[in-house]
């Protein structure tokens, strides 16, 4: 059980950033209305960031990762979240065995 001071500062920083986003909406923004362009930009942010984080790890590593990623995404059109994760993990292990 260890708590590194530097890691604690980082966790604190992420906590603050997260709480700020949660509180600003209810306290400040509940009185404002956004135009359609701003709304679209706001709504796209999580998708845009998550895709930017994940795309290189899925498509730039090799065939097993890219194929497993596509398969998981297909499963995700129908199945719940955990099934998508399990599909991704099992298929990447399988593709790595057969393709390398």
């Amino acid at each position: 059980m260890t708590l590194d001071p530097y890691n604690m500062v980082l966790i604190g920083l992420v906590t603050l950033a997260t709480f700020a986003m949660r509180a600003i909406g209810a306290v400040v923004m509940a009185r404002l209305t956004l135009g359609p362009v701003a709304t679209a930009a706001f709504e796209a942010m999580p998708v845009a960031v998550l895709t930017a984080v994940a795309a290189p790890a899925v498509f730039l590593q090799g065939w097993p990762e890219a194929l497993a990623g596509c398969l998981a995404a297909l499963v995700g059109l129908r199945a719940p979240m955990f099934a998508v994760i399990v599909t991704g993990l099992l298929s990447v292990v399988a593709f790595r065995m057969f393709l390398s």
């Binding site: 604690m8 730039l60 990623g69």
Partner: protein, 238 residues
């Protein structure tokens, strides 16, 4: 309804989400320990941050040294959707005192937000109901994340189980949940392509900001050309 019954009703309403959160929190604890965080640090993060997608993004970036600026940027941007959710939910929080509102926002997640909005459409949203679902999800998330961290510490090399791919799998799973229409596809394509190109050509983690920006710009452009704007319903369960 009494306050206690309302609290229990909130916790019961969110029960399906609790079941779904357990394996994901277990996985988070396991991966966090594999990334080099201690069991205590993993638990601390789950207790104070309490945001699934962001916690995965954060520990994914947990290298040596941690890029602080990028970590703060992604924390803000990944959770910026909560600004919109809070803005909408804030209008239904007439029964909340000011401290209750702030405390309530700590428990804001995509899931508890959706259930609270649903409740607010049928009856008035009481603090007891809201905190019932918030505290239930927080407790389950933390117990499972701690269990995952303890189990993960004895697991060994994560690549042997394909766990090095787990971040990607989790992100794909979250992304499929965000899918609403062809515009989502356009945003995905723009962010993914720009992020991959920048990753190939520029050192460092700039690819995240570049890809994110490309996706956001595409979303703004596409929406500006659309004459009948309607989105926002994607996260509500039926």
């Amino acid at each position: 309804m009494s306050r206690r019954a309302d609290f229990a009703a909130g916790a019961f309403a969110i029960a399906p989400v609790l079941a779904a959160a357990i394996p994901i929190a277990l996985l988070f604890g396991t991966l966090s320990v594999a990334k080099g965080l201690s069991v205590a640090e993993t638990s601390l993060m789950s207790m104070t941050v309490f945001a699934g997608a962001l916690q995965f993004v954060a520990i994914d970036q947990w290298s040596n040294p941690v890029p602080i600026g990028l970590l703060a940027f992604t924390a803000l941007v990944v959770n910026i959707r909560h600004v919109l959710m809070g803005a909408s939910l804030g209008r239904s929080m007439g029964d909340f005192s000011s401290p209750q509102k702030y405390a309530g926002m700590f428990f804001l997640t995509d899931e508890s937000w959706a259930f609270a909005e649903q409740r607010a459409r049928k009856a008035s949203l009481t603090p007891a109901f809201y905190f019932g679902s918030g505290v239930a999800l927080w407790s389950v998330w933390n117990i499972a994340s701690l269990a995952g961290a303890v189990l993960g510490a004895g697991l060994g090399d994560p690549a042997a189980y394909g766990f090095d791919f787990a971040f990607s799998a989790v992100f794909i799973a979250i992304l499929t949940g965000f899918w609403s229409n062809w515009r989502t596809g356009a945003v995905l394509l723009a962010s993914g392509a720009v992020s991959a190109l920048v990753k190939l050509s520029v050192d460092g983690a700039w690819y995240i900001m570049a890809g994110a920006l490309a996706g956001i710009i595409v979303a703004a452009i596409l929406h500006a050309e659309d004459e009948n704007p309607r989105e926002t319903d994607r996260i509500m369960p039926s």
